[in-house]
Symmetry: C2
Subunit: 469 residues, 2 copies
Amino acid sequence: MNSLTRMRPQQAEIEAAIDELRALLDERLSVNGSVREQHGQDLTWHKGAPPDAVAFARSTEEVAKIVTICAKHKVPVIAFGTGTSLEGHISAVYGGVSIDMSGMNRIVSVHAEDLDCVVEAGVTRLQLNDFLRDTGLFFPIDPGADASLGGMAATRASGTNAVRYGTMRDNVLALTAVMADGTVVKSGGRARKSAAGYDLTRLLVGSEGTLGIITEVTLRLQGIPEAISAGICPFESVDGACDAVILTIQSGIPVARIELLDKLQVQAVNAYSKLDLPEQPTLFLEFHGSDMSVKEQAERFAEIAAECGGGSFDWATRTEDRNRLWTARHNAYYAALALAPGKKGLSTDVCVPISRLADCVRQTREDIEQSGFLAPIVGHVGDGNFHVLLLIDMDDPQDVARGKAFLDRLAARAIAMEGTCTGEHGVGMGKMKYMQAEHGTGLTVMRAVKLALDPDNLMNPGKIIPEGG
Amino acid sequence: MNSLTRMRPQQAEIEAAIDELRALLDERLSVNGSVREQHGQDLTWHKGAPPDAVAFARSTEEVAKIVTICAKHKVPVIAFGTGTSLEGHISAVYGGVSIDMSGMNRIVSVHAEDLDCVVEAGVTRLQLNDFLRDTGLFFPIDPGADASLGGMAATRASGTNAVRYGTMRDNVLALTAVMADGTVVKSGGRARKSAAGYDLTRLLVGSEGTLGIITEVTLRLQGIPEAISAGICPFESVDGACDAVILTIQSGIPVARIELLDKLQVQAVNAYSKLDLPEQPTLFLEFHGSDMSVKEQAERFAEIAAECGGGSFDWATRTEDRNRLWTARHNAYYAALALAPGKKGLSTDVCVPISRLADCVRQTREDIEQSGFLAPIVGHVGDGNFHVLLLIDMDDPQDVARGKAFLDRLAARAIAMEGTCTGEHGVGMGKMKYMQAEHGTGLTVMRAVKLALDPDNLMNPGKIIPEGG
């Protein structure tokens, strides 16, 4: 088996590629320093690296031409959506060309009868939902940021309502991608299911641009529910809240969102969003369905919560009350940052079987306290996925080192519990070092697939699969 | 790129492999003629080929040893579950060793809190559901036959309630597989979601033993619903029935099963199961949920059906009435065969976007009539998937040729409608010839993945990917 290696291309190769790209794209090929910086650095603590050039593509055919030119000169290509990924995915580790997909923002078709739509990769989720508003349909996946749908597919994103609607894995029916040699591949179709060969759609979803560049996606849509109700419920302990979650899922209550905020996060939210929630571990919930079903779901959850040490409820069926609650939840990240002005937030992303969730959160809370961090926790607990926001002084190398050691312990803890180091953020550069522990011999298979589809390691090199081997 | 080719191994190679396998397995290695015949021939019209030997495996480690021995002597390996696959999947096209998984029938663990379980590949779905009975949980995928769960994963099976619970793609959380070189790989974990690298689980699900042999699967389970109600509703036309299906799905009614029987199939069922259903296109439905929700779902469906030319209902909430209906549905295949004693049933499996379903069924019905076939239709219409049962006189070469030509037209029709030639039966030998039309350049990617993971083409050769290229 060949090994997976890459070095920066020679300057002459890059210049030759840029010349050909400029002939193709004219002013849509930029070598401007700040444009390059912006395309190589995400908003996180990961140190980015700028690409040598940024190509603003307008069509699948154009992406294919760009990739073909870069392949000819052995120059890496990195897809760029909105730059909101969290693990250094967009960093041009070995230089190369960033392909900015924001100009590919056409909604190609909406098939209301089939509950699906076809969009170019640069369409963002809010753009799609605005467009869908009059159809009675919506696209449910909500990772927080207004990310591009191609980027969400490439990182296998999810978010608060994956417990009901699944992740990008479940909601991408088909896609178009440009492979390493410039070939355009259409995987899947619009049928709801298929048993026709290898699942290339699922292979490309979550491959973070390392196997191909996704240029178009066919997405499942949902009918906007007749009724939505939301509520919050404080618990005496994180354990009690987790028990309530397990019983809710087990009872088959089709909860649409079920989010945990720990005590510190509730304090942060109260301060930031001017609320007066009881300062206890708290579940935020949302139910979707008919009027009758939503009412029934809420009542059944209330019974479960009461058994698990849940406190008094605050149910909101009015849109404005619901929005107030979920805005506070969505602002949890900023609320947490406000706890320690000047520090950087470092978000973790482990996911474990829900039976292990209370254990994992408790051990992690103890670790946080022993390490002396200020670090609130929020979790998509219906999936067993939670985020610790470590507040780190990036100018203090010791604080950074302690933070990294904490990340290593947390990943190991989740993997030991049959979970994963990343539920929804992806691997990028940041979690590459956990891949061997998590996948074992599976990593060899991933490397073989990568080498088969990208033998020169030009597609977003330095991500997901550790090199060498 | 290398090409995908294989020939029968030399007799000396086969004998050397058999000697080593006998040393490993003793009497669990069989070269008995009828055992070999039975392992190479499924129940369909596909002409099978017997393997050179059958190895009865008892553990993942043993499968790994068998595969390693066969790899050393360049002898093909074919996994065998219950032999209920429908496209010649188990035929030993190039000879080799059939690995019978029926001895790997341990239920390894059930995690009721996490709604999952781990089973060896030879466990059948009825065995699992019997075992689960006292836990309040069940495994929903029901392809009709009491297939092995490893085989169901390998063929990406589904069945009548995929509309509610998804297919094997959605319900296999993790798996263990033996790869072509004998390496044991564990893909995925027990977390509900993960963004940690390439989705090897989904790559192996549906790969029909051509990339690796699945030896263990971790499955999602469901809580047994509090209430189940079923009913049937006759329609004036197939179009009306399809319209009712589309509106039902669009309205977000979480229907658990919604099955179409065309007029000829209803006649067959009446004769076979001694029923007196109105001889019209008919929907069979099932709803799962709380008492209140099931009632509400049924009422909402009734309103939709009335708008679409649906006739009077026959609702059944009593278990025995429900079982009578679903037994009749499950026996549809035998009922259809009874229409023409002595003929063989040839089952098709196209799946199209549901907006195209009525069109596809109508055009197919016209094709059947023009061709002069007796061929009832049943469909998992909530997914856009339907089966034509062509009744063919296998001793009449003209009838067989006309049948094959019909299959080709049907596959082309579905693919032209953005659908697939196979919703749930898989490719095997039978549908390999449609892969180029359905996948285009994607087939080149599949071939590259196959060559990367099985360079000698020893894993179930002659299936899914046409050779050469």
